[in-house]
């Protein structure tokens, strides 16, 4: 074992226990003895532990007895998918019969009791985990994930602390390096889902828009029978109905296709934490794109507290027109070192397509024409 490898392993040994002690949930629901009761997370969503959830995925209602996905669970595919080390994903939602989504705030949907989301993660055809978010009859949300067995016949509820380094990513993703996928703990789930305007990150008006962005990195085609915004509106599942969105489906209004795709990518991959409504709003910038009125503070030319190494504080920005090398967000998107990588969890391989797109957008950004680009090259 060479010195570099030994050092890295030692670093992981130190950090891993800290990461492993992810706990049941943020805030008051966890007492000093780890007792779990429902409580409010910072975003005001009621959350509970996984204590009362089925132990097996096959008992969650995702599948019928014959192993097929229950037709009550409808597939969907956000137009801007989250990067998870190249995992291929399948997603389903079940809305209780006749129940509607409260879309009073078009960018912060409130889901009816009994709503369940599932998301399956697979690499090269091997299913690794299926995550589930469910709103119980008491209004509280549960966050859980199920880890698939080697036979691929069923998946078992993961511990609430998650499982670090559970699956070695295939070389098609990691190249010559060894990279591992970690099963998230519940606190990891809440890191993003509790600070997003809505509990479901990939299921909102923009993500489900029928005007899908063909330039979105890792864009997925709609699975057969998928639910889209149009279908939710025409089937009366959204209240108020917002029928104007049928004629004019939500779309990021940008001056060119690169800007549209880059902003959509950043919204999906960064905006669940970096938005104008969650706890990190105090950082003074937002990546979250919305459909409703009201501009969020732009990440463009916002001074970054994180300094790009070798760049002076006054020249280090979150993103800055014309200067990707001065853009801390890009530096952190490329990093997969624990202290600097962005997003801070959920991936161990940087998304080269996403980095390339955002770099191209930032480099070509014209501060005088793009409405978000108010910065200038330092």
């Amino acid at each position: 074992m060479n010195a570099r490898r030994r050092t890295r392993n030692a670093a992981l040994a130190i950090i891993a226990p800290a990461l492993g002690i992810a706990l049941i949930a943020l805030g008051a629901q966890v007492g000093p003895d780890g007792d779990a009761t429902a409580s409010l997370d910072p975003a005001g969503h009621l959350v509970t532990s996984t204590e009362n959830l089925p132990r097996r995925l096959s008992d969650t209602g995702l599948y019928q007895a014959n192993g097929e996905v229950d037709p009550l669970n409808v597939p969907f595919a956000p137009q801007y998918p989250l990067w998870t080390d190249g995992a291929s994903k399948r997603r389903w939602v079940r809305l209780p019969k006749g129940a509607t989504i409260d879309a009073t705030d078009i960018d912060a949907w409130r889901f009816p009791k009994g709503t369940t989301f599932w998301k399956e993660f697979a690499w090269e055809g091997r299913k690794v985990e299926t995550r589930m978010i469910r709103r119980g009859d008491d209004g509280a949300w549960s966050f859980a994930t199920y880890v698939w067995n080697d036979e691929q016949t069923d998946a078992t509820l993961a511990p609430e602390a998650g499982i670090p380094d559970a699956f070695t990513l295939p070389a098609s993703v990691s190249g010559t390096k060894v990279r591992k996928h970690s099963i998230p703990g519940t606190a990891d789930c809440l890191s993003c889902h509790a600070s997003n305007p809505s509990v479901a990150i990939g299921f909102d008006a923009l993500q489900l828009s029928d005007d899908r962005d063909p330039g979105a990195p890792h864009a997925e085609s709609l699975p057969p029978g998928a639910v889209t915004l149009k279908r939710l509106i025409t089937e009366g599942r959204l209240l108020p109905a917002r029928k104007e969105l049928l004629a004019s489906p939500p779309r990021i209004r940008a001056d060119d296709p690169i800007a549209r795709s880059a902003r959509g990518y950043l919204s999906a991959n960064c905006g669940s934490c970096h938005n104008a409504k969650g706890p990190l709003a105090r950082l003074g910038f937002s990546f979250k794109e919305g459909v409703g009125k009201g501009a969020a503070p732009s990440p463009i030319a916002a001074h970054s507290r994180y300094l790009v190494p070798g760049v002076a504080a006054e020249s280090s920005f979150v993103l800055v027109a014309g200067a990707p090398e001065h853009s801390a967000a890009l530096y952190r998107m490329k990093s997969r070192r624990p202290a600097s990588q962005m997003p801070p969890l959920g991936t161990s391989v940087a998304d080269t397509a996403g980095v390339a797109l955002v770099t191209r957008w930032v480099r070509g950004m014209d501060a005088s024409t793009d409405r978000m680009a108010v910065g200038t090259k330092p």
Binding site: A11, L26, V30, K177
Partner: protein, 191 residues
């Protein structure tokens, strides 16, 4: 006529009126309760050893001691550290600065945070919820990168919300110190 009953009645009337307006509980109870919480937080900060790392040490005739003029303001921004020290080799793992505010190890170099209420460089814009989430989850800002060693959050996370809330209330009550702590240095050879 004896005025005493009239005065008593008047006093009672004022007291009753004040009570009806909610003045008595507000005026009498809140400041005491708040200060009790802050005192509890101060007590906790001392026995939990916050000053041992978050207040820079300086040399005194009695040996190294926390410099309380910079109480809980974290690693001094003027003590610039650009590279990690040479690794000491097994069985040694960590190296610390004389200030006890910079810690080098396999994770790189971590610098203790400014816990004072300075809005730009400290916890001035934090909420109690963010503070509790940071300690409970071991995540910077409550939801970001891992909080690095040697911060003993895996033990502190067992504190009650009440105690963490008291600690936060105390930290918000202490003098703000403007001191921008540097971000961690990555380990040598990190990819």
């Amino acid at each position: 006529m004896n005025p005493k009953p009239i005065l008593t009645l008047a006093t009672a009337g004022i007291a009753l009126g004040a009570f009806a307006l909610g003045m008595i509980p507000v005026a009498a109870a809140t400041p005491d309760a708040k200060s009790a919480q802050v005192k509890r937080g101060e007590y906790l900060s001392k026995i939990m050893g916050c000053n041992d790392c978050h207040t820079p040490f300086h040399m005194t005739p009695r040996g190294p001691e926390p410099d309380m003029s910079r109480m809980l303001s974290g690693h001094p921004q003027d003590l610039v550290i650009k590279t990690p020290p040479k690794a000491p080799g097994e069985p040694w793992m960590m190296t610390t600065s004389a200030t006890n505010t910079a810690w080098a190890g396999p994770w790189g170099v971590s610098f203790t945070a400014n816990l004072t209420p300075d809005p730009e460089t400290g916890l001035g814009k934090w909420t109690k919820e963010t503070f509790i989430a940071a300690i409970r989850n071991g995540k910077h800002e409550g939801q970001g990168r891992p909080i690095l060693p040697p911060m003993p959050w895996p033990m502190y996370r067992n504190a009650t919300d009440e105690d963490l809330g008291a600690l936060f209330a105390y930290l918000q009550s202490i003098p703000a110190v403007k001191n921008r702590v540097p971000q961690p240095l990555e380990p040598a050879g990190a990819e």
